[in-house]
Symmetry: C2
Subunit: 305 residues, 2 copies
């Protein structure tokens, strides 16, 4: 799947993933009103409104980006109805040919991690296989160490799936643990980078990148460059562009000399673009999202030259 992802990035000249992290405040009133008429339970109404909103975004961008990244927390907050909306969003995006990066940041001891691995590996029930989640990639949290990752890399050995493991996250608090200096002289995030590289070393595809990728925040340009040098076979999922403060200029060091090696996420900067420009109104959710993607593509590609 990492090869497919890189192929699509190159074909579209678009190292961009659209983060589908909607809040109700970014959904137009016309969608909310209709959903509340159709679904009397407020948890169902809000969840269905998110799906309708996501479909408008997907319809507007599916031919200019390779992937979407739904953030499960934004759905899970509404309980079971929300989880259903997360899955419905994924199903629709897959119908449109998009690659799915499920931003789930799971991590647990081996026997439990095996259960979480159904996110990419599916599950066998009474002798038949099911794929309830439909994700192509998932994000993982490595605090529990190697045996929490193995059930996922095992699936990557035989299936076209992939992982992005947290190394250096985009938030201010990421330094609390990740920047600590170890006795070895490395920082925690550098040590984690070395572990992620080793977990992925037997899973390298035809473009030289492993199915086991890393999450590296756009808000840390120097660390990003350091990590690109440190882990030459590891593809980066880069959050923190746009609303969180990162720009194309900050990302020059994240890409390799061929201009590949990253997929950059923007969420609110694309999905809530209709609220930020007086040219657009609530009927232009898709138009505004498409313009935001085109502007982001320009910003990234200019800075790669």
């Amino acid at each position: 799947m990492i090869d497919n992802l890189i192929n699509r990035i190159t074909e579209l000249n678009s190292p961009i993933v659209v983060g589908l992290d909607p809040t109700i405040s970014m959904v137009p009133e016309r969608i909310v009103k209709k959903s509340r008429e159709e679904y009397k339970c407020p948890l169902n109404a809000v969840s269905k409104a998110l799906v309708k909103f996501n479909r408008e975004i997907i319809d507007a961008v599916y031919d200019i980006v390779p992937a979407v990244k739904p953030q499960i927390a934004m759905y899970e907050r509404f309980g079971n109805a929300g989880v259903k909306a997360y899955i419905e969003t994924i199903n629709y995006a897959k119908e449109k040919g998009l690659i799915i990066i499920g931003d789930i940041k799971r991590g647990d001891i081996a026997s439990t991690a095996e259960a979480y691995a159904s996110h990419i590996g599916g599950v066998e029930v009474f002798g038949d296989k099911f794929d309830p989640w439909q994700e192509d990639f998932v994000t993982l949290n490595p605090y529990l160490g190697g045996d929490s990752i193995t059930p996922f890399t095992d699936i990557c050995e035989t299936q076209e799936k992939g992982l992005f493991i947290l190394v250096k996250t985009s938030n201010a608090g990421s330094g609390d643990l990740q920047d600590l200096e170890l006795k070895s002289g490395l920082s925690v995030y550098e040590h984690m980078a070395d572990m992620v590289s080793s977990w992925g070393k037997n899973l390298i595809g035809k473009h030289g990148y492993s199915k086991v990728g890393a999450v590296v925040g756009a808000t840390h340009p120097a660390q990003g460059q350091n990590l690109r040098n440190r882990m030459p076979n590891t593809f980066f999922l880069v959050p923190g562009y746009g609303a969180q403060g990162g720009s194309g200029k900050d990302l020059q060091g994240f890409f390799d000399t061929n201009g590949i090696g990253c997929i950059v996420n923007s969420s609110r900067g694309i999905t809530a673009a209709w609220q930020k420009d007086s040219c657009f109104g609530e009927n232009n959710v898709g138009d505004a999202a498409r313009e935001a993607v085109i502007a982001m593509k320009k910003d990234l590609n200019e800075n790669l030259k």
Copy 2:
């Protein structure tokens, strides 16, 4: 909620939480058969079978343990149907008066962590409050640092809720990151212990323990004793007893001098007890679970003297 939990532990003389982490292999055929007759979709049938199994366990132990800890991964593996079963299990356990520790191990950047915090804080939709998850405590992963925890501690400031944050986990791979030595001379898990203590320092209840607890694995007796001394106001959720290898003797150092300070989890050792003793058959799921709890209680209390 930490005060309620300690009160119940003391009343029942039972520092035990029953882990509800079922796999289909531990569910009796009579339950599976009936569920498959009732639900044609295999994902629904398996999920409903887990709920029925959990209800038999809960019915057998609710008056001798203070809490249950469903592990969401074991439900999430079946997609949306499984998540529904997780919530149904929690609702039933709450009806029986049990305290719920949702083993979710979530962690994300602040804005996303706010969404996950609905697990304990509920969610407002169209002006009304909902509590779709119903958990009293949740487990959290601290790899992203302090700002990933704040949305949860904010809720603990005003509501009777609590947290258990991963410090030293029970699995073999926990050492990969958690045991690394920092330049400061502390290990990563010790540094994390200090952060967890500081996050909880304004949330200490009448028994001297904070609403912000820590996960400390039973499989590491020396580290557990070290952590008890290091974080005197932090209550421990202790996985790894029983099936993972920990015993009452290993846990002496985890408790304080008053014999409190921990709640010890056992999952398969209780829920699958009916399969491990030829005295029991598939009609004795509850009997076997109750006997396993009583034996565990004896083991823990003998070693506390």
